[in-house]
Amino acid sequence: MKKIYARPKGLYRNINGYCPGCLHSAAGKIIMSVLEEMDLLDRTAMVDGVGCCANNDNYMDLDAIGTPHGRACATASAIKRCSPETIVITYQGDGDLASIGLAETMMAANRGDNITVFFINNANYGMTGGQMAPTTLLDMKTTTTPFGRNPKEHGYPMDMCKILSALRGPSYIARVTCIDVPNVRKARQAVKDALQHQVDGKGFSMVEFVSNCPTNWGLTPLESLKFVKERMLAEYPLGVYRNL
């Protein structure tokens, strides 16, 4: 018998604590299986953002460092420069990467620091109970936009792939999603390409996962996937935005 699927080697054998239907676990599984395939598990240091992302520490058998909210790219840049042989990845949510850590993200990208950023965009602050994030869609209700996100009051959803693509520093930027099998395959390829850019010393790489948050969106897991497909992807088109 041929084994065609197994739990990635780097995942601890415990049950993850993400909410039912949350795609964090899918992203984590993809990243760990690619690291295993590329034989990078022993060389990788993971820099966790704050929020649901920080849970990774409990699931991923990697050297890891938790960072102050938003500062993952700054910490990661320093680790990479002090230890160039280490594969340095960050794992951050939208509030972490695009709001409180916008400067750190932009400047690490602009410096072309040779790190790989995994950005989980679920359009809200999940861990704190579903407040508005920079990526919250227009009209979308959150606990701090109870009448929906209104651009006159709250501004517009921020497209980080486009924003970072305006810089000359990044070497690889892609947006993926894990809502179905074909997309999981594409996501896997993007993760692999991003990490290969780091291995090749090409500079800053980022993969954005357009993700879901069934709990705070008030949707069932399946409804949340539909919401990603119909609403999120309309605002955040998938694809490779930069590949130098």
Partner: protein, 362 residues
């Protein structure tokens, strides 16, 4: 021994390099710009890394990352910049990362002034971030001391696996003085230390039996319950009271008046003490060399039956250091103050005048 004429900030940076510092991240702020500028040209010569952060907040987060790889690393800033760094300083205390932080302080609160001041005493010794952590805090009063303390700070950071803080000021940082520079730490010494630090550093597990996890509530790369970590930190702070107290006294045995100060104010106060002695006043001098842990013992040893008072001189209004002195003196002697603030320098003549007033008050 190499004797050179150097500006305080540059001397601090050179001392750090010689102590083995191989990473610096910082952000421009007066009066400490000569520190990042010096590192930016000196670190590449020794194979080190210089990073200009996009902010103090980011620079301190960079320091956290560098320290987590197990190399000797440092940042510097001034007052309001240090406030921005307090986020990652707390994380470094929370995660037990050995780094050195230097505050070349200026007037406050807020943006304050760019002139020298001692208004960050409480921040440095009691509340450098949230969560009630403490650090060893050096307070140099000359450029030579700034050099020697910077050099030692790296060893102490490694010894305790904890951030060490140097509180100096724009006066000492911008002043030029002759200094004897310490010897260069050998590459073998630093390599051996990095090797030892691999036991907890985050650089990829590289075949280690367990992955290292660094975050608030970890010790040596292993997670532990936060309360346990708080208790262990407290035990360390208590040990510091035995092992890390440093102070200087002069003529306290027969003193009728004590002048006490730290940092640059202590240098000015010391010269006031010698003038007063020549004039026949029995004046003693106490200077904390580290301001945390506070050298309570220096004040406990005084013969209060002879004392007419204790004069605290510091460049902070309202006073801060004075409160620590009051806390240990516990009303056993009258306490006077000689204060300047907001970037104004304390004058020797003002200390002499305040001392004479306190002397005659009894």
């Amino acid at each position: 021994m190499e004797r050179v004429f150097m500006k305080g900030c540059q001397a601090i940076a050179e001392a750090a390099i010689r102590a083995g510092c191989r990473f610096f991240a910082g952000y421009p702020i007066t009066p400490q710009n000569e520190i990042p500028e010096y590192f930016s040209r000196r670190l590449p010569e020794v194979g080190g890394v210089f990073l200009q952060g996009e902010s103090e907040t980011a620079s301190a987060a960079m320091l956290y990352g560098a320290g987590a790889t197990g190399i000797r690393a440092m940042t510097s800033s001034s007052s309001c910049g240090i406030s921005l760094m307090s986020e990652a300083i707390g994380w470094m205390a929370g995660a037990c990362i050995p780094v050195v932080i230097c505050n070349v302080s200026r007037g406050g609160p807020g943006i304050g002034s760019i002139q020298p001041s001692q208004q960050d005493y409480f921040q440095a010794t009691k509340a450098s971030g949230n969560g009630g952590f403490r650090m060893l805090v050096f307070a140099p009063s000359t450029v030579q001391e700034a050099v020697d303390m910077t050099y030692r700070a790296f060893d102490l950071a490694q010894k305790y696996k904890y951030p060490v803080y140097i509180l100096t000021d724009g006066f000492t940082g911008e002043m030029m003085e002759p200094v004897v520079l310490p010897p260069m730490r050998s590459e073998e010494f630093l390599a051996a230390e990095r090797k030892a630090n691999e036991a907890w550093a985050v650089r990829g597990r590289g075949g280690a039996p367990k992955a290292h996890k660094i975050r608030c509530g970890t010790r040596f790369g292993v997670r532990c319950p936060l309360e346990q970590k708080n208790k262990e930190d407290w035990e360390m702070y208590e040990r510091w009271k035995k092992d890390e107290i440093e102070y200087e006294t002069d003529g306290t045995e027969d003193a009728e008046l004590i002048i006490t100060a730290y940092g640059i104010s202590a240098r000015i106060a010391r010269s006031a003490v010698s003038i007063l002695r020549k004039e026949g006043y029995k004046v003693g001098f106490i200077r904390p060399i580290k301001i945390h842990p506070f050298p309570e013992i220096a004040y406990e040893q005084l013969d209060y039956s002879r004392l007419r008072g204790i004069l605290c001189a510091e460049m902070s209004i309202p006073p801060q250091f004075t409160y620590d002195v009051e806390a240990v003196v516990r009303k056993r002697a009258p306490i006077g103050t000689c204060l300047r603030s907001g970037g104004e320098i304390i004058e020797r003549s003002a200390i002499i005048e305040a001392a004479k007033k306190l002397y005659g008050a009894k």
